[in-house]
């Protein structure tokens, strides 16, 4: 099975203080430590496991500045077979649909049976997977937390739905799935894996290579534009419960009873 996994380079929230720029245009990115978006790791791990079971290959693709190459290489060190870097100044300022258009174009250039994305990105809107599927006119399932490969181009997939319930679907390939955390336990990258991919040349595709016109993507093609970015002012009305855990629990139960939350 040929699988494409879309990954994104994001500020690592484990060890970063995220601050918004004074002009509200973006967060301050200068001193941030970056890593691969956590959800995408689960998607790559799942792809590697599927290929281990049924054969094929895993390709990892990322859109971004040339620095995004490091997350592609990182996921290859984890076990993906190939990498693709989609970078072009024309991509800057793309909205979700623009990103999806770039990815869909990359998918068309390959021969993939399955495209995986993370359910969402740390700094994203959980929209790209569905839009890639729509642009390709492929079936799509979101929040996937189980994948079984069935015969004849069909996958049996589990989806996480409200209340912790599970829904099982069969889906025709080729298809796009967005992967929920918890589907597996992503492996860590070891030194051996890094040594293996250190000197690999990662192919770079630009807008022209993908047959995309400048007006379709980037700032020019964006139909959703960020108007402002700010930390909301602290509101009133919150009550901070204090005391030992037992005391807090007792107070919380009383409050919930008083307000009709529990009987």
């Amino acid at each position: 099975m040929e699988i494409l996994v879309c990954v994104k380079r994001v500020p690592d929230s484990a060890e970063n203080e995220i601050e918004v720029k004074a002009d509200g245009s973006d967060i301050k990115r200068e001193d941030l430590v970056y890593s691969v978006n956590e959800w995408d790791n689960y998607a790559v791990e799942e792809a590697i496991q599927i290929v281990d079971r049924v054969g094929g290959s895993v390709t990892v693709a990322s859109i971004g500045s040339p620095e995004a190459e490091e997350v592609v290489r990182r996921e290859m060190a984890m076990g993906a077979n190939n990498g693709l870097l989609l970078t072009d100044p024309a991509f800057e300022g793309s909205d979700g649909r623009g990103i999806a258009a770039i990815l869909a174009a990359a998918v068309r250039k390959g021969n993939y049976d399955l495209v995986l994305t993370g359910a969402q990105a740390d700094d994203g809107a959980a929209q790209v997977g569905g839009m890639v599927a729509a642009l390709l006119d492929w079936p799509y399932a979101s929040l996937v937390n189980m994948i079984e490969v069935k015969e004849a181009g069909v996958l049996r997939i589990g989806r996480e739905i409200e209340g912790g319930n599970q829904e099982i679907n069969e889906i025709q390939m080729p298809c796009v799935l967005s992967i929920q955390t918890g589907i597996n336990e992503p492996r860590y990258v070891g030194i051996r894996g890094i040594r293996k991919v250190a000197a690999v040349e990662i192919p770079v595709l630009k807008a022209a290579d993908l047959g995309l016109g400048a007006a379709e993507v980037g700032r020019a093609g964006a139909r959703v534009k960020r108007a402002d970015y700010f930390v909301p002012p602290a509101g009133a009305g919150a009550e901070i419960l204090q005391g030992s855990t037992d005391e807090i629990t007792a107070k919380l139960v009383d409050l919930l009873k008083a307000k009709g939350g529990i009987k």
């Binding site: 060890e15 430590v33 990182r74 860590y188 070891g190 030194i191 040594r195």
Partner: protein, 605 residues
Amino acid sequence: MAQVIADRRDIDFVLHEQLDVEELSQHERFAEFNRKAVDLIVSEARNLAVKEILPTRADGDRQGCRFDNGRVSVPESFHKVWKTFNEGEWLAMTEPVEWGGQGMPRTVAMAAADYLNGANFAFMMYAGLTHGAGKLVESFGTDLQKRLFLKKMYTGQWTGTMLLTEPEAGSDVGALSTSAVKNPDGTYAITGNKIFISSGEHDLAENIIHPVLARIEGAPAGTAGISLFLVPKIWVNEDGTLGEPNDVVCTGIEEKMGIHGNATCSLALGGKGKCRGTLLGEENKGMRAMFLMMNEARLLVGTQGLGCASPAFLYALNYARERLQGRHLLKTFDKNAPSVPIIQHPDVRRMLMTMKVYVEGARSLLYYVGRCEDRMHTTADADTRAKYQGIVDFLIPIAKGYVTDRCLEVCNLGIQVYGGYGYIREYPMEQLLRDCRITPIYEGTNGIQAMDLLGRKLGLNKGKPVMDLLAEIQAELAAAKALPATADVAATVESAVNKLGEVAMHMGAAAMSEKLLTAFAFAHLFLEVCGDVVMGWMLLWRARVAAQKLAAGAKEKDRMFYEGQIKSAEFFGHTLLPITQGKMRSILAAGSAAVDIPEEAFGGK
């Protein structure tokens, strides 16, 4: 959340801008380790450290190790992390690939170790001891010993220890009484009691391989009669399968001030007369083998110190930026002035700057020692190799003794920045101080390091190592003096370097005169001033590189970092180095009160 183990920008700066680690990839031995590989390795060490190892630090401290009837269990959270750590093959980063190592440059391994030890060095000790024991097998083992033990140790399937200390043989290893008697089958029967054995017994791995120092019956007294043996917890048959449990019994573990996650064991060898071991290396050459391993072990202890100091600095820095307390000093009398973050108070800045310079200086020094070792592997020229070996030999007591003393001071200041919150368990500071406190003690106390520097290293090869080191420092001074941004501080460092030359001559002569005792009473201060000068050199080197980058038009995002490097050098040069000048005057004055005072006059009776 801000960075809490080590500042990634600082690590990248030392690796790439100060020490040009990428140059190593031009040599066949390290060809795989190009810039991309190095950056990925550091990223992944950080990833593993932050996400998996760090959560075990407080947990391991609270839970500690448990002893029950000869068995020791490590904190529960260590098991999963140990597995993940070994899957990533982080245990033998610099060792040969054929034995399960990764063949990495030491400099890069230092950067990875910075994160890994900074996350929880009590956990990392299981790996560190295994690595050291493996190194002994690699260097002195027979083909059979290597085949049986090495790969399993370097991959973390089995762990290792080092059995030196006995109740009556601590700093004086030559006093040990563990004995070895040759059996008819060529193995040795070992009998004795060892104490303070880190990772001596635990449930992380199926077997533990103990290198043991013991005296073969009839061997000379003292260090000349000590041999090294390999004693597995469970006997390993010649086909590699596990045999019977050996007669090695853990009789208890210590309740310690810190590093609670690492089991410090008392081990009884041959209590039932059935402890077997094989000779590792040659008879009576055990101490020689130990000495060959010592540089690496002592460098590791320096890294452990940094592993406490670097997080202490970052926690304190983050806290000082957030903690609002008191008005700004210039608005003391303005009742409406708001409370300011304590980082705005001059005394807090003094503490943070002190922490910053020692963390940065120690990081540079430790990586530099690694870089010298890498240079030894990438040169075909025997003189160059000897030169860097000499510099490493000279710097090791500083990298262990001086660095751990300063790191302890950094942890102490970290508590002070937190105030009362630093003293309570809810915050990480008090654990960092407790954990750090062992580093000036073990692997040769810092007093022993000072004696090593004065008694052995200063006069080594007729003083060539110290001369080579001074030549390296002089080259940096020349470069830094040529730049307006660093010329002033370079002059301050130069003055200290020149004075140190005088002090070294004085100490070298005094140590061989009738004033020997007085000289050794100043050995620790001598270690300290040597360390201060090395810090001055490292910080000046950093500042000079930063000044060049600024002059060349650094990117906006790098400006503050480089500015910080220049300020570190200025603070150290203008605020701390004058104190070093005073310490050097004290050494030259050679007051002998500490030696002259009669024991009774200490009082207390």
